[in-house]
């Protein structure tokens, strides 16, 4: 039996308050395409960061063996020197530099600081040929599509004498043809003896190229499947990915569903910078009073873009479609108008879009409804204080007081401050975007309780979440989104993680 080229032994990585990886094992053979799959938050990216030295040796437990020796990487440069190259989801190219400049960025073909452009061009041409990209080395990155940019990244990796190539969601923003070309490229590398780790959500691709598959769930290795020794199906993988019980993680609730509060019809949105790229395609959505509606989907499905474009066109260009509030066509084309119509959008990105981090809780809570604590433009300090204290108590914000700066709060408490802000704006329809991202289990349960309370009070709640169990646990009805479309809709009681996953996978196949 051959020796694995890479063996990660019992990797455990802990963040303050969260155990991200628990004794994870991963072995990659020479000349193998190894897929790593798992739900969002299962620990795939963390594992790759451990491997590439983003989290340096010593910040985790366990061993990394590469080509038979133990490696203790402390920086990305260390792992690159050994031949482990990672290509991230967000490409790390400089858009206004040329292909050649990008490929040689950081180790230019230079003598005494003077670049030898002839050599750079010659070598770039050679590398581009290897990855099958027919472009001039002088072309600027910004003029290439995402698929070609991906190939430049790979060419850049080849330039560094790669032995193990790690691709993090390489095809998530590629179309079918580009995806297939990329997968063929990986097969070509395999023939040359280069191993790859492929991290992806697209199980059909996994089955197309992978020799072996490691499944992660909740930071643990749950399964390693060999596609050559046994017939592996998508269902088999999905089962391994999601198999866990849901009992007692969600507060019980009794839905009393009323009239329709919000309807969105035939909604289309284009990318704010690239006018030809349609981000949202013909989406129809409806939500009623007292109802919690989930939007499921993988990262990049367009859920946040959809929500923000509805909320006062805070995302996108060339937006078309109709919004009806309580059955009446309503103008929600600016944020103040959307708020007046009763909408609130609680962002997934609390730090950059949700909070004024340098300010304290009190000022953040009232920001969206200052007139509510002011008379003729003059803020009533005492009233504001009462409001802030009330929300601090009601939502259980743990802090030294309402004068604590929000930057010093934990994720869960920051989330509660953002929620307070929107609750105080008095909305009828709340869109909660990843309301429990990055917060601990206890705080999650409290947030679920708040969501239940809102629905009980007759509000319509839309929850966007990448955690499928969460959506199943708290929603009444679930829309499934993929690549800018709603590709399915099911009642939560009829839905399962498998059925949602299957709907997403199916939408990819055609």
């Amino acid at each position: 039996m051959t020796q694995p080229i890479l063996e990660m032994r019992d990797i455990t990585k802990t963040f303050p308050g969260v155990k991200a990886l628990t004794e994870v094992k991963l072995a990659v053979m020479p000349a193998e395409i190894h897929a790593v799959v798992g739900e969002n938050g299962a620990g795939k990216s963390t594992l790759m960061k451990v491997l590439s030295g983003v989290y340096p040796h010593g910040s985790y437990d366990g061993q990394i063996m590469f080509e038979g020796d133990e490696r203790k990487f402390t920086t990305i440069a260390d792992s690159e020197k050994t031949g482990i190259i990672i290509i991230h989801q967000e490409l790390a190219l400089v858009p206004l530099l040329s292909i050649a400049e990008n490929i040689f960025l950081g180790h230019e073909t230079a003598k005494h600081g003077v670049i030898d452009w002839f050599e750079a061009f010659a070598r770039t041409k050679e590398l581009l040929k290897k990855v099958g990209l027919n472009e001039h080395p002088n072309t600027l990155i910004t003029n290439l599509g995402t698929g070609k940019q991906q190939l430049v990244e790979i060419a850049k990796a080849l330039n560094k004498d790669v032995k193990l190539l790690i691709l993090d969601e390489p095809t998530s923003s590629l179309n079918e043809t580009d995806s297939n070309a990329l997968l063929e490229l990986l097969k070509g590398f395999r023939a040359q003896g280069i191993s790859s780790i492929l991290i992806t959500h697209k199980l059909n691709e996994v089955l197309k190229v992978a020799d072996r598959i490691t499944v992660l769930r909740d930071g643990k290795t749950v399964d390693t499947l060999d596609t050559h020794t046994a017939k592996v199906s998508e269902d088999r993988i999905i089962k391994a990915m999601v198999g866990r019980d849901l009992s007692e993680r969600y507060p019980p609730r009794d839905a009393k569903i009323g009239e329709t509060l919000l309807e969105v019809k035939n909604w289309n949105v284009f990318h704010p910078q690239r006018a030809d790229r349609q981000m949202i395609k013909n989406v129809d959505l409806m939500v009623r009073a007292g109802e919690v509606v989930g939007i499921a989907g993988l990262m990049g499905a367009g859920r946040t873009e959809f929500a923000m474009s509805v909320f006062g066109r805070s995302y996108g260009k060339k937006i078309s479609g109709e919004v009806l509030i309580k059955g009446k066509p309503t103008d929600v084309s600016s944020i103040p108008k959307a708020m007046k119509a009763g909408l609130a959008y609680v962002t997934e990105d609390r730090k950059t879009l949700g909070l004024v981090l340098i300010d304290h809780i009190k000022h953040n809570v009232t920001l969206a409804n200052l007139p509510g604590v002011a008379k003729r433009g003059v803020v009533d300090d005492m009233k504001e204080l009462q409001v802030a204290n009330q929300y601090r108590k009601d939502l259980g914000i743990r802090s030294s007081g309402v004068y604590q700066t929000t930057v010093n709060l934990s994720g869960g408490n920051q989330q509660k401050v953002v929620l307070s802000k929107w609750l105080f704006s008095g909305p009828d329809i709340l869109i909660l975007d990843e309301p429990t991202r990055g917060i601990d289990v206890g705080a999650k349960f409290e947030i679920y309780g708040i969501i239940n309370k809102l629905a009980e009070d007759g509000k319509a709640v839309i929850v966007i979440s990448s955690e499928m169990p969460e959506l199943l646990g708290i929603s009444d009805r679930i829309y499934i989104m993929n690549e800018g479309r709603f590709v399915g809709e099911m009642l939560a009681k009829d839905a399962s993680q498998e059925s949602i996953m299957r709907t997403i996978m199916k939408s990819w196949e055609h």
Binding site: F311, G312, S314, I335, P336, M339, Y345, T347, T352, L353, G354, L355, V356, L357, I358, D359, H363, L367, A368, L370, P371, A374, G377, V378, V379, D381, M382, L385, Y403, K421, S425
Partner: protein
């Protein structure tokens, strides 16, 4: 300070001092600088005539610093304020004297009275601010670029409208804007000369009002169990305010009383303190400077807000230009040159953050006077103008460095 408080050195006391160290450090620095120059100038600094001069010399800087503070808190900058004030001074001169120096031996054919002129000029300043604000707010062109362009344009326009010459003098009523004093109805002979009792009276009344409001606020805070400031500091702070204000008006009373411009300046400072601390408008500026995206997503019309701030800045620059012209009794092509630097420096010395979201009106005012006292003191000492620049630059650098250093440490 009462014995009671010194007897129990509570941790609250130290914690409060620590949390507000920036404010105290600023005030103490101003006092240290004043005492330093009082000693080195052999007592000239605090002479009534010199104190009056410092007020007159710095009023226009302080007035512009009020607007600049809003601009900086909002996360922008305005480099055009000096040129704009100079240009407005020039326009005012033409309107009041009826001359047209930019056309050979022509005249306007009419003259305007000082009141109409002032109103027109302030409106013109606001309109110019609106144009700059429009590009910054609605086209997202960095304020640095827009106002740099404005700085050049208004500097040029100032030269053009004045035809490179000085235009003046102005009607008496206009000069009063800068050299007038509140009429002395109670002048008595005291303290070795005529003594303007009214000035002392006004000073005392203002002091009592400030202390009254402070105590009122304190009472509300106490009733809600919110008084963070320890008693000793509260009383000490009010005592200091009383000493400063009454002492200052006492000095003023020994010369010619309270300058009109001091009243204007004081009213504006009070207004801007109110705007920044008590109004929704002010609150939104701080929120926008702290996180523009989050503020916009919270339903605040950030474009309109930015626009309004630059309109205010334009109007204040115009007022400052009028005051400066009135003070010299002539509009010169060099008026306003370099003012923007003093104004911006005042805000940063006063603790405003370049990144926006942080800064206090009182800080900017103290910063402006710090620069003013240094200018005045160094001039009395006869320090070369070159070294004056060097020293002012060093003080600015030191103030901001200490600010950043302690922020990163704490």
């Amino acid at each position: 300070m009462s014995n009671l408080d010194t007897a129990k050195p509570s941790s609250d006391f130290m914690r409060f001092i620590k949390a507000n160290v920036r404010d105290y450090a600023l005030l103490i620095s101003l006092l240290v600088i004043m005492v330093f120059f009082q000693i080195t100038t052999n007592g000239t600094l605090f002479m009534p005539v010199n104190m009056t001069n410092i007020i007159l010399q710095n009023s226009y800087i302080v007035i512009m610093a009020l607007g600049m503070l809003l601009v900086i808190v909002a996360g922008h900058i305005d480099l055009s304020v000096g040129s704009l004030s100079g240009f407005i001074g020039g326009v005012a001169a033409l309107l009041m004297t009826g001359t047209m120096p930019f056309v050979q031996s022509a005249s306007l054919g009419f003259t305007l009275d000082p009141y109409t002129t002032s109103a027109f000029c302030i409106a013109l300043g606001a309109a110019i601010g609106a144009v700059q604000g429009y590009f910054i707010a609605y086209h997202k062109i960095p304020a640095f670029i827009v106002t740099l362009a404005g700085m050049l344009v208004f500097r040029g326009l100032e030269l053009q409208v004045l035809g490179g010459a000085s235009v003046g003098p102005f009607p008496k009523t206009f000069q009063l804007l800068s050299s007038g004093y509140v009429p002395d109805i109670f002048t008595v002979q005291a303290f070795g000369g005529p003594f303007n009792l009214l000035a002392l009276l006004i000073g005392t009344i203002v002091t009592l009002m400030i202390i009254y409001f402070n105590f009122k606020e304190r009472r509300t805070q106490l009733s809600h169990g919110l008084a963070e400031e320890p008693n000793a500091i509260f009383i000490g702070r009010n005592a200091l305010i009383a000493i400063a204000f009454i002492g200052f008006s006492f000095l003023m009373a020994q010369y010619r009383g309270l300058p009109t411009v001091l009243i204007v300046m004081f009213a504006l400072i009070a207004l801007f303190v109110f705007i920044t601390t008590r109004t929704t408008f002010g609150r939104r500026i701080y929120a926008m400077g702290g996180n523009e995206k989050a503020t916009k997503l919270s339903g605040v019309n950030t474009e309109k807000l930015t626009f309004q701030i630059f309109v205010i800045m334009g109007a204040l620059s115009a007022l400052a230009g009028l005051i400066f012209a009135a003070r010299l009794n002539v509009a010169t092509p060099k008026a306003g040159q370099g003012f923007e630097l003093d104004v911006i420096a005042a805000c940063f010395i006063g603790g405003a953050a370049v990144t926006g979201g942080v800064g206090k009106v009182i800080g900017a005012v103290i910063g402006a006077f710090m620069m003013g006292v240094m200018n005045n003191g160094m001039s009395i000492l006869g320090i070369d103008i070159g070294w004056q620049f060097v020293i002012k630059g060093a003080v600015l650098m030191l103030a901001v460095f200490l600010d950043v250093y302690y922020k990163n440490k704490g």
